[in-house]
Every structure is written in C-alpha cells, then in structure tokens.
C-alpha cells in the first residue's frame, strides 16, 4: 500500500535536499513529492507519497522524517479520510480533424481542453490519481506527446487538530504521543 505523508518543514535552503537525501540514504522509495508554501510564512507543506507495503518500513520512514532537524511535523494520513488530488497537463499532437473526438473523450472524463493550436491540443485535469490514470488511458488512442503530472497533494477532512501531528509542549503528552505512533506502526 502507498503511504501518504503530510510534512511541515522550515522553509530553509536545502530542505528538499535533506528530505530526498534521507530517502535515498535509507533506501526508501519516493513515489511523489509536492512542496509549496503553507498558511504560515517560513513554513512549507509537503505531500510525500512513499511506496512501502510493509508497516514496519512505513514506521521507519515516518520516524526518519521526524528526526530531521528542519522537519516540524509529519502526519501519516494514509488511512485517514482526506481529499486527494493530482493535477495533469496532457499534450496531444492532432490536426483539427481529431479535435471533436478528443473533445468528447476529454469531456466524458471530466477534463478540459485549455489550448488548441497548430497541430496540438493541451488538456488539463484535476482529480484523484485513479481518475487521472484513466483519463490518460482513454486518451492513449491519440498521439500523446507530453504528460506532466504534479503528483498527489492531500488534505485531511474536518477541523484540523494540531495535537495529532505536532509534538506537544508538555513532556508527558509528548511521550504518550510517541508511544501512540510507535504502536500504530509496530504493533499491528
């Protein structure tokens, strides 16, 4: 199963390097990594999708991320209710004769044509990973020349609670928090 992690990091130079260096060093697989600014200045939010089926390994990834000094919090939302989205741009080489059939497939898949020019069409879509993959499959009958996927971004549904992802102030709480995390990965 894929593991989805939402990571808050200090927006310091080299932070991306630190994260990817850790994944590479530990031989963990990153499937996608999206980073952008968050609601707080100086702090970025990342969505990282890792491909590790084993729960123990996923725990290792979680705690190794947390160990990085510039990482503020890590939330593993793999099995929590959340909104998952990916955005894609697809370029198809096609003369005007193909435009209507491309338009039909696009529309049926809930995507949009955003550019039609000399010999090429660009389609955009936002949706769950599966829907994007389906769209690409359905368009594969045409002459696809470029695909640009962003990778997944994700957000938990409901009112946000800091207590779940940030180590809290009181040491007692922090110890319980760590134990809860340990149990969630290693006692299943």
């Amino acid at each position: 199963m894929k593991q989805t992690l939402v990571v808050l990091v200090d927006d310091k130079p080299g932070i991306l390097n630190r994260i990817s260096s850790m994944f590479r060093r530990r031989n963990f697989n990153i499937e996608s990594l999206v980073v952008g600014s968050s609601e707080t200045p100086g702090i970025s939010r990342m969505t990282i999708v890792a491909n590790e089926p084993d729960s123990t390994k996923r725990g290792n990834i979680y705690f190794n991320l947390l160990n990085l000094v510039n990482v503020i919090s890590v939330e593993d939302i793999t099995s929590l209710p959340c909104i998952n989205r990916e955005y894609v741009l697809i370029k198809i080489h096609a003369g005007s004769g193909k435009w209507s059939s491309i338009g039909e497939v696009t529309k049926n898949n809930g995507a949009r044509i955003v550019d039609m020019g000399k010999g090429s069409v660009i389609i955009e879509a936002a949706g769950e990973e599966k829907a994007i993959t389906e769209l690409i499959e359905n368009l594969s009958q045409f002459n696809i020349k470029e695909i640009m996927r962003t990778g997944k971004i994700a957000m938990r549904i409901g009112v946000s609670q800091d207590s779940d992802n940030i180590v809290s102030e009181s040491q007692e709480d922090a110890a319980h928090w760590a134990e809860k995390k340990i149990i969630s990965y290693f006692n299943s």
């Binding site: 080299g14 260096s21 123990t56 725990g59 290792n60 705690f63 947390l66 040491q171 007692e172 110890a175």
Partner: protein, 584 residues
Amino acid sequence: MGNSTSKKVLTGAEIIWECLLQEKVSVVFGYPGGAILPAYDALTKYKDQIHHVLTRHEQGATHMADGYARASGKVGVAIATSGPGATNMITGLATAMMDSSPIVCITGQVSRSVIGSDAFQEIDISGIAMPITKHSYLIMDIRELASTIHEAFYVAKTGRPGPVLIDIPKDVQNESIEFVYPTSRIELPGYYLPQSPLENQVKSAVELIDDAKKPIIFAGHGVLLSGASSEIIELSEKSGVPIATTLLGIGSVPDSHPLVLGMMGMHGEAWVNRAIQEADLIIACGMRFDDRVTGNLKTYSPHSKKIHIDIDLSEFNKNVHVDLPVHCDVKIFLKALNPQIRENNHRSWLKSISIWQQDSHQRDIIKTGSTTLMGAQVIRKIWEGTKGDAIVVTDVGQHQMLEAQYFNHEKPRTLITSGGLGTMGFSLPAGIGASFYGSDKEVWIIVGDGSIQMTIMELATAVQEHVNINIAIINNGYLGMVRQWQQMFYDARYAETPISSPDYVKVSEAYGLSGQRVTHIDEILPAMKQAQHVNGPSLIEFVVEQHDMVYPMVPSGADLHQMIYRPYNNNSDILKQVKEEAVK
C-alpha cells in the same frame, strides 16, 4: 549567563570565538586557509582563553575533536577552510555520525556574492555533509551567526548526539554586528527529546523481566552517552540478569563484574553469542542491532522477546523486530524501572552460561608460551602495565578486536574506537584529542602498521603540542584483518595486503619523539615503563607474528551461534600451526 549586558559590536570572526567561549570550549583542532583567515586572525585576541591545536590534516582535526568528545563527554570542535579543507573533514564527520559523537565542525566558505560560481576553493560542504551529519548549516546572514552556533551545540549534544557542520562565508566573518548570545531556550519545533518514562511501559518491561527465565541485558554506546552505568548494574544485580556489551558499549560496565559476560557479535565471546541465541528475553539498552552484532537476522536470537530502550525513534525495528520499543533516555528509564523489578538470581541460566564459558578457553593464545610476539600478548601486557587504568584508543583491524578481547575495561569512556564506520587512521588523532581532556589517566593508542600510516603525520602535531600519549604499533606486516578474510574466504590469496613500513624508531627520531622496538615478550613491560616515564609522546613498535588470526569469528552474514573457533591444538606448537594455516 547574563553576559550580554554590555553592548559589543564585533566582527563575525570574533563572534565565532565569543560563541565558543559561551559554550565553554577551551580547545579547538584545526587548520587555517583563505576562507577562514578572518576567524584565525581574530583568534589572536582569544589565544589566552581558547587553545588551538594545529593538526597536519583536517581529517586529523575532526578525529581529534571526536576523541576529545568521547573522552570528555563534551562537544569537540574542529575548524577548517573552504574547499579541500572542508572535504578533508568528510571522513571525520562520517565517523562521528556512525558512532553518535558530538562534534561541531566550522568551515570557512567563499564570500556570499560568489557562492555558486565555482570560485576558488568553493565547495558545497553543507550539502555534501547532509547525509553524514546530524545537521548542517550555511550562514548567509550575520544576524543568524550567534544563534546558529548556539543551536549547533545544542543539536550536537542533545538527544542522540552527532556531528554538526557550520559553514561560514568569508564576508560574513568580516561583517560587524552587535554581539548578543542567545540565552533563551532553543526553539526547534519538532525536535523532540523524550524525558519522562511512561508508567505503562515500565510496567510492561517489569512483567517481561520478571517472567523471563533466560534473560540477557545489552549495554551499548547509549549507556555511556546517557551515563547510565550504575543504573544498568543495579538492574543487573537486582534482577540477576547478565550483561553483554557491544564494541562501543565496552567500559559502560566493569569487565570484572561477575554479571558482565563480555562483548557480543562477530568477534565477541562465543559464550555470549550462545547466550544471546538461547535467551528468552533481550533488554537492549542504547544500541542499534548492527549487522556486526546480529549476524544472520533470520536466525538471530529466535526465542527471545526483545525490549529496546533507545533515545532515537528511528532505531526501532530498523534491523530486528522488537516487542517493546521504549523511546527514552536509558538512564531515565532504568531509574524508573529498577525499583519495580523483582529480585532474582537466575541461578541455572547463569550456570549454563558459565559452562559454555569454560568450553571456549582454547582460543587463549596468550597461553601459548611462544617467544614470537602475538598481538594478543602485547595487548594483555599493556593491560597489565597500565593496571587497566588507561584511556585506550584503537584503530581498525585485528588489533582493534584483540583490544576488545584482551584489555579489560572497568570505567566508562576508557575505550575509544571507530565502531560504526571502522575508520583506519582514527586512533592517532583521536588519541591526541582525548589527551586534551586532561584526565589523569594515561592515553594508549593501539594501532596497526597499516592504520598508523594513514594518519602518521599527526606525530608532528603530538610533538608540537607535547601531548602525553603512548603509541603502540602492532606491526604484523599485513593489513591483518583483510588478510584474515583472504585466508578464510579467498583461499589464502593475499592480494595487496602485505604492507611495508618505515623504520618506526627512525621515524620517531625524525619527528622528535621517543621510539622503541620490541620483539620479545619479556621486553614489553620494561619498554612500557620507559614510555610511561617520557614526558610527551612516545612510540613503541611491537613486531608480532604476521599470520595470527582473531578468533572466534562469526563470518559475515552467518548465524550468530555458528562461530569459527581457533582451530589449533593447544598441546603442540601453536606458532607452527598458525603458519601452516596461513599458507594452506
């Protein structure tokens, strides 16, 4: 501290030294160059308060800082210029990282305006160092200089300690700003240090320990780092559970204690490994189940439940599945645990272990009666000649394992060795660094003829600094440990392991230290006496049997209980057997 009342405008270069003073640094190890020149120039004003040791190579500076840190428990500091000075620090940073040693390395960087232009001696050291440091900084704003240095020391020494690198551009060193040293608590959200033991975890541990029939305690480097020696002994004595140590755990518990079994792992004691394989409970304290300790993971201690107490969350279930991961400082947790466990003595379990112990005495090469020196004999004599009361710093190879086997350590921080990275060339500089701790213990550096030649130039540092160190070169004419593997696993084809040496007595003379050569067992103690009387560095070359092996041994990846024992028969000429084995 309250030092920041008087307003001082200082240069970045001066701020570096002011910060080190605030961190109570009294000695730094370094090497100057262009990009760090402002800092060195400012050092002239701080000469009375901070002693700078000029090394002969920046790798040496990092190992010295490391050796100092391991001997003292304080943060060691190394300093170097940009480019090649910085890259020379890589091996030392990696060594400190693997062994959780707190050092801070300061490097000069080219000026900010030319960063990224491949300027002369520019290298992205904070980037290069990322995977081999606990953290690294590049300071692009003088306003962040003091707070970053403050934070760097905090990161290096708290939690699981480790090396931190601070890269400081030359123009930042030249700028000026009002100096204020931060005195407030360091705010690092997400940098979480466990403090309080959890009642339910203590309870679970107590249940496991009270129920166990064949339990064993592991003492790793974390026991030294958290200062938990007396707590772990208390646990052992009260519960009757014996203790095995890792290589870096040596010294955390007294070897002479009846419940201390000895070292585990590849060259550990056979009875220890056997006990681990038969145990029904492992209480692992501050160690990380390295492959040199576990052997084949699939067959590793198959019947045991495992309690793992560690301060680093990322260590749990990294190599070995554990039943009770306890995220806590070892000392804090044991303090909570000890009052609650039941008194016990595990008589029959200890009895079986002592029977296995008798079986494996045949490895005892020191009983050969041979007149050719054996490495093990030399180590044993050094133990005798120092009454075991010395800081021993080893290099990497057969002599390192022999030290672990034949030198009994009674006190914490008396063995300093590169365990995780296995860095040849570590011992001489690390030993020099350790000698700056200023303990009244003698410093003995035990080093192979291969290893000494990797960092031999630091002899000049030892002489210039007039440090009291004793260097024991165990000269077997080979890269011995590699030769051992070639003998065992490559049909005795000794590819590039015979290694020549200079005349070490003449080398000593040339460098200006006292040098001796010993070839006979009866000369060992007198030579040591002479070395001990020298005020300053002194060197003894021990010419030992070339083809000796370190036994017992678990071949890499083999089951822990399948050790290879010393194959010789004690009743006939062992030396002859050693030689026959080596050419077979």
